[in-house]
């Protein structure tokens, strides 16, 4: 579990409303791709210690699949879609129209599929921010990693730690009602609050 949260007052703000809509659009994009009704289970906007972020995923040692996209434009930031490995495999099967259980590892094709999903989510999120704030923001090409959560998150956490021990994050848990598709979409730092 995450330790202390250093600021949750963001939640009620106008900026939070923009961010929540952006995240909702991202999850809606995933829903469209997958052809299933994917709901948001929770959205949290808060200021936390960077070193505690892996606790959001059960700890830095947990094996996860992460799809990382840098935020490019006049804001620096990071977006990562994180899944438990079996859920990521199931998602690939769903997207490729394969029988559940077909995918057992992530080679180029599977990484490409997950990368595309991440790209859609990232684009939908950033498009909403760009439309609302007028900033030109695009996602980088995606990088798909299957590794321990700490190592996956380092791409973002190391970058943020160059500036500060703390950061604002949005973490959004999304899932279908049967939890066949489930994951977390993480953005850090929150654009505009770097």
């Amino acid at each position: 579990m995450l330790g202390q949260v250093y600021d949750e007052t963001l939640n009620g703000s106008e900026q939070a409303a923009v961010l929540r809509k952006g995240v909702s659009n991202a999850v809606a994009g995933l829903s469209q791709m997958v052809g299933k009704d994917i709901k948001i289970a929770s959205i949290n906007l808060r200021k936390v210690l960077v070193r505690e972020i892996p606790e959001l995923f059960g700890g830095p040692q947990e094996m996860m699949v992460g799809v990382y996209l840098a935020i490019c434009g006049n804001t620096n930031g990071h977006m990562i879609a994180i899944y438990e490995p079996q859920t990521a495999f199931d998602l690939v099967d769903l997207l490729l129209g394969q029988a559940p259980g077909t995918t057992k590892e992530l080679s180029d094709m599977e990484q490409s599929v997950l990368g595309e999903v991440g790209n859609i989510m990232g684009s939908f999120f950033l498009n909403h921010l760009a439309n609302t704030t007028g900033q030109a923001l695009q996602p980088s090409p995606p990088a798909v990693l299957m590794d321990m959560a700490g190592a996956i998150l380092e791409v973002a956490t190391v970058s943020v730690l160059e500036q500060s021990e703390y950061t604002y994050v949005i973490d959004t848990v999304f899932e279908t009602s049967d939890r066949q598709v489930a994951g977390t979409f993480l953005v850090m730092p929150i654009p505009g609050l770097e």
Partner: protein, 172 residues
């Protein structure tokens, strides 16, 4: 951030996480210091076999810019001397220190992540340079590659292990 763990009388082994930018030193035999899921970061492990004092640092970045109030444990160049000093304060002797490191991977070669390529390599160079400046040498290193690692130091024996994603825990 530096944390010194004083002697405790716990019978069971206690795993103590050394998080990003942290540095922990102990003479408590029941402790296992660990850096979990490190990528480009480097776990620097220092041990005195005679007095059984162990220290582990989780280095994140190569070089400190000197920002006031910054956490010196994050940077290879400031963290290494701090770690050595803490181990000595806890009873270690410079001439008896065994130093081993692990980590410094390049986590991804995807486009758009060009800047992250170099962090692991640069961390490694700076850790080695910092040790040289201390007049100390490396006993062992498990570095590079593109997978995460978990590093553990069993303070009762000084045994250090590395488990790379997809592999087994093995001695360093």
């Amino acid at each position: 951030m530096i944390e010194t763990i004083v002697n405790n009388t716990a019978v069971n082994q206690e795993s103590i996480l050394v998080g990003l930018g942290e540095l922990k030193v102990t003479n408590s035999a029941s402790v296992i210091l660990s850096c979990l899921g490190i990528g480009s970061c480097i776990a620097v492990c220092v041990y005195d076999h005679l007095f059984k004092v162990g220290g582990m640092a989780h280095v994140v970045l190569p070089h400190c810019d000197g920002k006031p109030g910054d956490n010196l444990g994050k940077y290879a160049d400031t963290c290494v001397p701090l770690l050595i000093d803490e181990v000595i304060k806890q009873g270690g002797n410079r001439s008896r220190l065994t130093i081993k490191i692990a980590g410094g991977a390049q986590m991804s070669l995807a486009l758009g992540l060009k800047n992250t390529f170099k962090t692991g390599e640069r961390n490694l160079e700076e850790v080695k340079a910092a040790l040289n400046r201390q007049g100390l040498s490396l006993a062992a290193a498990d570095v590079g590659g593109n997978k995460g690692r978990t590093v553990r130091m069993y303070v009762n024996t000084g045994r250090i292990t590395v488990k790379t994603t997809g592999g087994e825990e093995r001695d360093l």
